[in-house]
């Protein structure tokens, strides 16, 4: 990187905060002019130090980290915020990203990786710890029904059931599998018989029990 990256830390644990600060100030190309222990403090010092990056803990006394991100991004949208927290709580992840954070690391991240992540952040990336990234990606995929133990469904029937459980219309299933809608209906009738259900939703619930 050609320029110095100025980073502000927001973290209430004294040891962690000082550790990070020392790490950053000891690394070439990175600088941490300020390390705050509360969100309120951060909002005050940001105009003074004009950082490109904020490292943000979530659990803070007073204003929490996510609220703080909202304020930061409202006022200084060009600042990149990276969450830095202990837990991979799904709710926190999505709230943080919705608030405008563009990176999300767990505190167990080794120092070298943390510095890499910061530089990736200012270069237009969105560094995330592996398990975080997986959770984010999985919000896009629909839950699929894969296998139902001890139901005598044929391979074809299971295949059709999996489409059924994803909300496909009959005609969409037909198009997807290159068969007639009548064939789809025939299969579904047999599926319902075997599973002892009468509707698509009941079939889905039946699958989910296993």
């Amino acid at each position: 990187m050609s320029e110095l990256i100025r980073i502000i830390i927001v973290e209430d644990d004294d040891d962690v905060r000082e550790g990070l600060r020392i790490l950053i100030n000891g690394s070439e190309g990175y600088s941490c002019p300020m390390a705050c222990s509360t969100g309120e403090e951060a909002l005050k010092v940001i105009p003074v130090h004009q950082p490109q990056v904020v490292l943000m803990d979530i659990n803070l006394p007073g204003m929490n980290g996510i609220e703080c991100v909202v304020c930061i991004k409202n006022t200084w949208p060009e600042i990149q915020v990276m969450m830095l927290t202990v837990f991979d709580n799904t709710d926190d992840i999505f709230k943080s990203l919705t608030a405008g954070a563009t990176g999300y690391l767990l505190k167990k991240t080794p120092p070298a990786k943390l510095l890499d992540a910061i530089s990736e952040l200012v270069n237009g990336g969105s560094p995330m710890s592996g398990e975080i990234a997986r959770k984010v990606v999985q919000t896009f995929s629909n839950p699929a029904i894969h296998r139902i133990p001890e139901s005598n469904l044929t391979a074809r029937e299971e295949e059709i059931l999996s489409y059924l459980s994803k909300g496909f219309l009959y005609k969409e299933i037909a198009a997807e599998l290159f068969i007639s809608i009548e064939t789809v209906r025939t299969h579904i009738r047999k599926i319902y018989q075997k599973l002892q259900v009468r509707t698509r939703t009941e079939a889905l619930l039946m699958c989910m029990k296993h």
Copy 2:
């Protein structure tokens, strides 16, 4: 990694395909027993080689890469699919992730990074090129695509949704709540609007995402 990772490549460009194959087979811990040039071919050879990972190009002759991912995840949900493509086209990204891909790299990724990404993939991560990750993350701040969390359902609407997701018929819900079936309809219409879905099953899937 303790075990050998078996990888199948699906890529129509001969040079790229062979290059990847040589790279993988020349690296300790990785093995590429097969490299296909079409999705159809991949679906045939997967049961033979039982890979943990599939590297998938998007632009393929015949079945395209995204359709191929749908088939793969339907049949072998445990296989991790990484998209490997030249462009960072937003639409392709989301379609791929929706189809069940859990990694997404650009072809410009250097060899060492590619191998790292594959091992991250089998270890529960979701490696993405920086610009891809950023696009994914930004969908959360874009209310159009990811408006999930507080969906503003009223108490009554949630109540009706819960019956709906248990498979109750409209008239059963009406009877249960001592209201007219027309009222049930009205509530469900508003629920669908708020959740941005069109059918009962889609609503149920939406609920299950939390």
